[in-house]
Amino acid sequence: MFCLRKPLVCLLLISLLCGLAGAGLAQDDITLTMLTHWGTEDQLAAQQVIIDAYMEANPGVNIELVTVDFGELRTKIITGRTAGISADVYHFYHLWLPDFVNAGVLAEPTQDDLSYIDENVAQGTIDAVSTSDGQIWGYPTEVNPYLLVYNKRLLAEAGYDAPPSTWDELKEIAEAITQVDDTGAISQLGLGVMAGWDSGIVHPFSALLFSNGGSYLSEDRSVAEFNSPQGIETLQLYADLVASGGTDPSISGLGDFPSGAVGMVIMAPWWRATLRAAEGIDFDTEVGVAEIPVGPSGDAPSSIAYTWLFAVDSNSPNKAAAWDFIHWMNAEHEEGQGSAIGDFLVNALGAIPSFDHDQAAYADSMSDHYVSAFVAASAYAHPEQIVAGGQEIKTLLQVEIEAVMAGMTTPEEALASVAAQADAILEEQRMMAEE
């Protein structure tokens, strides 16, 4: 009743109370927000254990975990920054690093952090989280090389006791595995692709490209090189596989390999948790991992590897606390023990950790038939070349690869078109940097 009669006085009183309540909450505690893309129930629980342990060891520091799907992570970072509600700590895909650095999104690590990373991480992985001037921008986490993951049972049923080691064998086995019923429904597919997802298309393409002696960008990252003769051969492989029925973009390698309907897929190690839980394939007895088959212009198996990193937002009011938290998560807690994040990466995801102490401490966990093959591949896989505008180039390439698989264009035309656009993007980024 009072508020009805004296609304202005009432409004002022409410504002005063809110102000007092806010002042009461404002203590010396620090709250850090961490944004990651690890959002499944198990992953959230595992991350919370790490966060709780840190908060217990560091009273006065509160950590809030925010997770979004990978497809929305970049958008979340960008919109959060624009809205002035950015997280303090990011875990993000290293391809975005040049864009974020150019825009001033990231805070430079402290000298202690730089030294720690430098001393405990292999140079190739350090390069993957550094800009071209050599500046390291964060703690590298998972290293993900690509390999051929195959279903031993389906290969055996098709009459093969070993995975393909050349493209000819890949085409032959893929065709042999594929089964189409009388109505034209594909009940079983040789090689699964992941249409509609840029990484799912471009990373396997790049792995095959490197195994065919090709390269993605020039060494100085100034022009595209995926349109080389080796690149055209790689894309022709996709066209041949579609023509022979060895692959079909309407079947998702990501979804249908775990259900036991796809014979082979080119994939990264973080898939282990999914495969272990899969009902259509037995992880221990049916999942095999092999090197990427070698193309006609290649002389040895090769692959591509991408990395993620933890970094701090330059707008964070608590940068020192944020770097301390990241360091704590990645550092070995006691001599011979791995880090909390290393444990999470290896045991919750099946990914390969970047830090030497984690690779040593969790060697046993990485010695299973699945991850051990990826560990071996990480020694020779080419790190994904990061460059400003890299995400746009990758998406353009994905679309053209899909166009070739759909029979809409030829490999030569497709790669020439993307290369021209990629070169224009790289040139534009160079000019932007000079401005």
Partner: protein
């Protein structure tokens, strides 16, 4: 509060109440009105003006607004001359709009005529047709992804059981857009049926009675009474449906994402990707203004054509 409408030169000048109570009430009225006006300025006009300004710059949404490099009309020039995806998206969007608007108008009117006639279970049919309208668009999109699946979808099961060849639908460039048009029509036709039905029920029965006395048949009644008197409704249906179709996003985002090979890419989805995936907010804003111009032009043409005819009739 009373407006002094008698004085034409100062029609907007309100009477100032003399009593303090009335004055306080008027103050509150202005306070309440000012909030939506302020909201309109801040959340509608402000962003439009800002977006226009951004379209003349290169902005990644991460750098400070004050440091956006000036690009003049280069974003517009790039989109209209070099961006092949934009051209493709524009073509797809037009096809989507033409197919969707055409189907919704013809089928919507046809079903409305049926539902306006004394058929059995008329109310049940009306509810059934309207149900997709109140279903979440993303839920529908996911449902249809399964229904139209090349290998395990229900539609293909039916097709193949009839001895017809299996169709790829959403996974083939030649069929993805057509399939999306079908889903969109399924989703919104109930809404347009209701609009047409309201229009049909607004036509006085006397006209039909008089026509029957004059010996007119059903077809003549439809041609010379129903259709002319429905033209204002037709105008509403065509204009609102066209505007909505040219802005299609959620359905495409949730089903194909523009794939395969941009065969189902639409302007707003390309705008979204350009802004948030490639961090080119300037170019995306330019796209928004080009689309706005196109929608405005089409709407003006539609209104002129249909309104003039409606009045002539």
């Amino acid at each position: 509060m009373k407006l002094n409408l008698s004085a034409k030169s100062a029609w907007w000048t309100p009477d100032i109440p003399k009593s303090p109570l009335m004055r306080r009430r008027m103050l509150w009225a202005y306070a309440f009105i000012s909030l939506p006006i302020l909201a309109l300025l801040v959340f509608l006009l402000g962003p439009i003006l800002f977006s226009g300004w951004v379209s003349l710059h290169r902005w990644d949404m991460l750098s400070p607004v004050g440091e956006m490099p000036w690009r003049g009309l280069s974003n517009y020039v790039f989109l209209l001359t070099k961006d092949s995806v934009f051209g493709k998206a524009l073509g797809n969007t037009f096809l989507f709009a033409i197919g969707g608007v055409g189907a919704n108008t013809i089928l919507g009117l046809g079903f409305a005529l049926l539902l306006n006639s004394p058929i059995r279970g008329r109310r049940v049919w009306r509810v059934l047709y309207f149900m997709p309208v109140i279903t979440a668009p993303l839920a529908l999109a996911v449902m249809f992804s399964f229904i139209f699946d090349r290998n395990f979808g229900v539609v293909n099961s039916v097709i193949t059981s009839l001895g017809l060849p299996r169709q790829p639908f959403l996974s083939a460039p030649s069929q993805s857009l057509l399939t999306l048009i079908f889903i969109a029509v399924y989703q919104y036709i109930g809404y347009y049926i209701v609009i047409f039905l309201a229009g049909l029920q607004g036509i006085p029965q006397d006209y039909y009675d008089a026509a029957q006395v004059d010996g007119a048949g059903r077809r003549q009644e439809f041609r010379f009474i129903t259709l002319p008197l429905l033209k204002p409704v037709m105008l509403f249906v065509v204009v609102t449906n066209t505007i909505g179709a040219l802005q299609v996003f959620d359905l495409v985002f949730a089903t194909t994402g523009g794939a395969p090979a941009n065969s189902s890419m639409t302007v707003v989805l390309h705008m979204y990707n350009t802004a948030f995936k490639f961090s080119r907010m300037g170019r995306a804003s330019a796209m928004a203004f080009i689309l706005f111009g196109i929608i405005l032009l089409i709407t003006v043409i539609q209104v002129r054509l249909l309104r003039d005819r409606a009045y002539q009739d």
